[in-house]
Symmetry: C2
Subunit: 206 residues, 2 copies
Amino acid sequence: MADKKSKKIKKNSKEIILMSAKVLFAKQGFELTTVREIAGKAGINVAMVYYYFNTKEELHQNIIDDAFKSFFLSLKEGVGQGKGPKEKIYDVIKVYITFLHHHKDLHRIILRETISQSKHIDMIVKKYISRNFDLVHSIIKEGVQKGAFREHDTTLSTFSLIGMILYYFTYEPIFTRLISPEKRKKSITEFLPDHIFNLFMEGVNG
Amino acid sequence: MADKKSKKIKKNSKEIILMSAKVLFAKQGFELTTVREIAGKAGINVAMVYYYFNTKEELHQNIIDDAFKSFFLSLKEGVGQGKGPKEKIYDVIKVYITFLHHHKDLHRIILRETISQSKHIDMIVKKYISRNFDLVHSIIKEGVQKGAFREHDTTLSTFSLIGMILYYFTYEPIFTRLISPEKRKKSITEFLPDHIFNLFMEGVNG
DNA sequence: AGAGTGATTAAACAAACGTTTAGTTAATTA
DNA sequence: TAATTAACTAAACGTTTGTTTAATCACTCT
């Protein structure tokens, strides 16, 4: 009958911890998020966190790893094979914006980790950020070879393109405040891809 | 003679604290930087920090305030009056890159503060980031009016331009690793402004 | 010379942190 | 059913944190 203080056995505690931690890390960052806080949000005991993860750091790394993996996977699957360079670039922009729009928390975590210059950052950078970059870079290089794009430093333009996109999410609260009321009603995924694609292709010259 | 444990009176302790704190906040962030650490780097007692600043937070705010002020000032002074929109945009790019290149620590602090969603962020955003944005935005709007730039959403292109620039500094360690060896020898202020200017004007279309 | 003032110090404070311990309960196996 | 294993808990551990206290030193002014 009545469950008084009965110990309920949940089999998915580990996943609940990961979910709670992801939200809190994204909102407050690694240092400002307490292990007790994570446990509290997950509705479990503090020690359970250490039952599944050796340290707070390990839990954090786990989340970052997942974030990067899913990002790269989306990008790889979202870019249509057999298309021309211009269409591929449009796909890249679309996937980047769509993914980040639906995983704002992950973008925050990635960005934070990039700034923090932790010991593990080097491994993470090599493993994931560079993979995303290389994928976009190879498309642009292909475009130059085939004459779709003009001759230029493709490393720099790849960086510029990704930078244009990421900046919207990095400074999203400011962005939302500044755009026109009509566009504020729409989703960012509707109008932003076309704008960035046009700008990257044609520039603003009149 | 010999100064044993003599108390030396330094009149510039406050400035030394500010300098030390700036470096440490930039490198490690607010939470990871200890008041004892700041005092240690400054070569003074911990209590001296609280002699000049009420809290660690107040010291931090002081540094951020200075950072934003000097940034906006550089921008305002660096953009030539009486020039055409295109030349002004080039100036903007040049000043942004030059300033950030010489104040990498400040950029890190600003970025960190933007992500952190602290209570004071709203005031800071309104006060400074928007001011920089408005300055650039007004130049682009002027360019469209005068026919120098094509008709387009100028809010979005302003965001894109600033994003392109800032991204290089946000992800600088990755960037340095990826650019060509010849460019790595040069300073970023030499080749980056022209690249971004050309890209923003003409795009990559072949 | 001595009172007054600002700069500086060592030492302590309570609170919060990540982590560990030792034990309890529920489920599984034999 | 008894023994074993996995899931869970309350309480404590030592350390570090931001901050305060009370006293000391160096200097200026009369």
